[in-house]
Amino acid sequence: MKLRGGYNIRLAGRPAGRVDVLSEPDRLHLPQRSRRLRFTQLFVKNGQRVRCGEVLAHDPTHFGVPLLAPRGGTVRLRAPRGHVTLEDLVVEPAHVPPDPPSGGEIDPKRQWLIDLGAWPFFADAHSGALPDPQLPAAAAIVATTHLEPFTLRGDVQLHESLDAFLSGLDHLTDLVEGPVFVAVPRAGGELASRLRQELAGREALQPVEIPLRYPLDHFDVLARALGLARQRGRTVWGLRTEGVLAVDQALTLRKPVLDRVVSIGGSGVTAPMHLRAPIGYPLEALLAGRLVDRPVRVIDGGVLNGEAVGERRLGLDAESTGLTVLLEPTRRELFGFVRTGLDRLSYSNCFLSRLRPRYAEPLTTAVRGEHRPCIGCGFCEELCPAGIMPHLIHKLAYQDALEEIDRCGALKCVACGLCTYVCPSKLDLRREIVAANETIVRDLHTAESAETEEVPA
């Protein structure tokens, strides 16, 4: 398997292996939208009393994926906007929905996964979108890690529940037509070797070793490296450790997935760690006492791909994997460009920190330089996991040469953000490529898509 590019940003504040259980909150704010889901179809009224595990809302555009009540309580709608709020919470055994009818449009096992809240852990490996449960899965890729700084660590979860993970994998092999690839990082340690042993004993599972470089755990990158082409009418699933555990919880225990483990890390966190919390847990309570006493930016997800959490977002959403908190820069440096740079890590070797092997840098949100024309250093190309040439696409985008950009393989971009991160001219290459791709798909590919996507099975 050939994987290229990738880079680990050694950001200070890696979440420690500890998983803390948060105290029960006095209310939950369940966001009605997350990265991919929009829970617009409400099933509850203002003031209604709901049981734990009951359906609050559906996403009608995504196969009726439900938003479940993580605790029993009283519903408050639009207070605040965009959230379903639960008050007067009670901890009680979760309500389990009735068995889905067999012979329906969707296979009963998959329907369980949807009804019990495990489906949001699934992704279409090629597009990252929520996969259609009616489509057969040609294969599944399970990545045991998150390599982006920082989201939920796979090893932390596996440590707690390796058996549940293996049982989840068994369920997956039943659901998938082809092989289940398990991408395990090339790392030593007892856990990794135990996992390898267990995987080796199961025929339907195919262990794949990946280097510990972001974003080589990306499903699309892995799918390409494994030679899994896009096929019409079939899909390739991508799941991570927490997804496999959710499958196990739904199919072995028949219990709804109401809690999430999230990481909280980054330069702005005093004690980076993992937390187990119900969906909807108020972010304010979650972050209280955990942040440094300085202006910070809270990001939902990792540094490279996450979105800044705005004031309107109040609770953990159904797809959260971690919060990364970055310091906002407060002071400017006199003659920063001639300093030794012992305290700044760079992909290039232009700073003395190169001589400090174990150093992790407390990164800020600063752009750290002026915008300049491309100087052709080639760093973006070296890091690109898709094997494309971001600097070339930048030049072509400048000329609006969309067809040429398409020919250069821009659609292979997985938007990992490394090109933008590393650019010494501070060009936002990721955004340029993503924007160009949107136009390419809209203008150039819509007419021909029917033909090009058809690959004989």
Binding site: I9, L11, R224, A229, V303, L304, N305, G306, E307, A308, E328, P329, R332, E333, L334, F335, F337, V338, G341, L345, S346, Y347, S348, N349, C350, F351, L363, T364, T365, A366, V367, R368, G369, E370, H371, R372, P373, C374, I375, G376, C377, G378, E381, G387, M389, H391, R407, C408, G409, K412, L418, T420, Y421, V422, C423, P424, S425, K426, R430, R431
Partner: protein, 362 residues
């Protein structure tokens, strides 16, 4: 520090869109960037950025040139520093003028151009000639193409070529013997008036007459030549530093030096009486300063790895051909300019290959 921040904060409105000094905005922005750096924060993912910026990038080149500058001052006297000051001032005026007219930022690439330019001139070059050369180099070599990042040719070499064509007599005969002893020429200020007394032919010119400087002298730099090109050792130290920092790509350098070595070895062992030995060609003249500091300019060299190798080899071959089979004794300058010219073509070949491979991968 706070004082400086306050100063910039308070004067910023003066240079704004409606401020009285809006024409000087690029200058004010450059000063702020120089002293305090950028205060911009990221707006969208990725939320953090690598600390390397183009100021640091260019600064690495200047640090790498310091050994060569020190050697140059030792061998040819303090006048080199005056030439550098003239080069910075004259070239800086062009850079600032263009930035003001375009209302764009002043780019730091000029720091390297201004530093490098006097080092490739004979040490007795008149100061007005330094000014004319650097102005031509920056203006025609860079600004008319749209500034840093868009130029086809290396501005330093454009300026030097202009002087070599416009004032051939001086550029060919302005060389002096290097200083010796503890002080070298540190206590001297040699000008064009001293050329008659101190005149010394460059090793490459002497080699045409079958007279070879010792490799030791070439390595240290105690030979006649352009101000900053003589000390192969100082340039090698700086050059390897640049390769280590990854500011320059080793492929360009290895291509050039490898091609010069192999080709000149073939010629030498074919006809030792006529052609100089390969190590002599490696160390003599402007090969090291050209290979490490000019052919590696990322803007004017190919972007693709394959292109870089071919570009290096092309330059190396041209250097040997020009040195041995033309009227010129030194060929590095023309070879790199021809390499610059070929680099878009070389890139095109490798980019097309790359695209075909990407398409095959599906």
């Amino acid at each position: 520090m706070r004082l400086l921040e306050n100063l910039f904060d308070r004067t910023r409105p003066l240079f704004g869109e409606t401020g009285p000094f809006r024409a000087l905005r690029p200058v004010a922005q450059a000063a702020e960037a120089f002293f305090l750096g950028s205060d911009e924060t990221t707006e969208r993912p990725p939320h953090a950025r690598d600390p390397l910026d183009s100021k640091r990038f260019m600064m690495m080149v200047i640090i790498a040139l310091l050994p060569a500058l020190l050697a140059s001052v030792y061998f040819f006297g303090t006048r080199v520093l005056v030439m550098m000051a003239v080069s910075y001032i004259a070239g800086g005026i062009v850079e600032v003028a263009f930035a003001m007219v375009r209302n764009k930022d002043i780019h730091e690439g000029f720091f390297v151009t201004g530093f490098l330019f006097p080092l490739v001139l004979p040490p007795t070059t008149p100061l007005w000639m330094v000014a004319v050369g650097v102005i031509f180099g920056v203006l025609v070599g860079k600004e008319v193409f749209g500034g840093t990042g868009r130029n086809l040719f290396n501005p330093v070499l454009v300026g030097r070529t202009f002087l070599a064509v416009a004032y051939p007599r001086h550029l060919a005969s302005g060389f002096v013997q290097p200083g010796e002893g503890h002080l070298g020429r540190l206590d001297q200020y040699i000008t064009i008036a001293d050329v008659d007394a101190l005149s010394g032919a460059t090793p490459l010119a002497l080699a045409r007459q079958g007279e070879y400087a010792s490799l030791w002298e070439l390595l240290l730099g105690s030979v006649s030549g352009s101000a900053g090109e003589t000390s192969a050792l100082a340039l090698l130290i700086g050059g390897l530093f640049l390769c280590y920092t990854r500011v320059v790509n080793y492929r360009n350098v290895a291509g050039i030096l490898g091609a010069v070595f192999v080709l000149s070895a073939a010629l030498h062992y074919g006809d030792p009486g006529r052609f100089a030995p390969p190590l002599f060609h490696l160390l003599a003249g402007g090969l090291f300063i050209g290979a490490f500091f000019m052919a590696t300019d990322p803007v004017t060299s190919p972007l693709t790895n394959g292109g870089k190798w071919l570009y290096g080899i092309l330059i190396g071959v041209l250097v040997v051909v020009i040195r041995n089979f033309s009227g010129y004794v030194e060929g590095v300058m023309f070879a790199i300019l021809l390499g610059n010219l070929a680099s878009p073509l070389l890139d095109e070949v490798f980019i097309q290959m790359r695209i075909r491979r990407l398409q095959l991968e599906g």
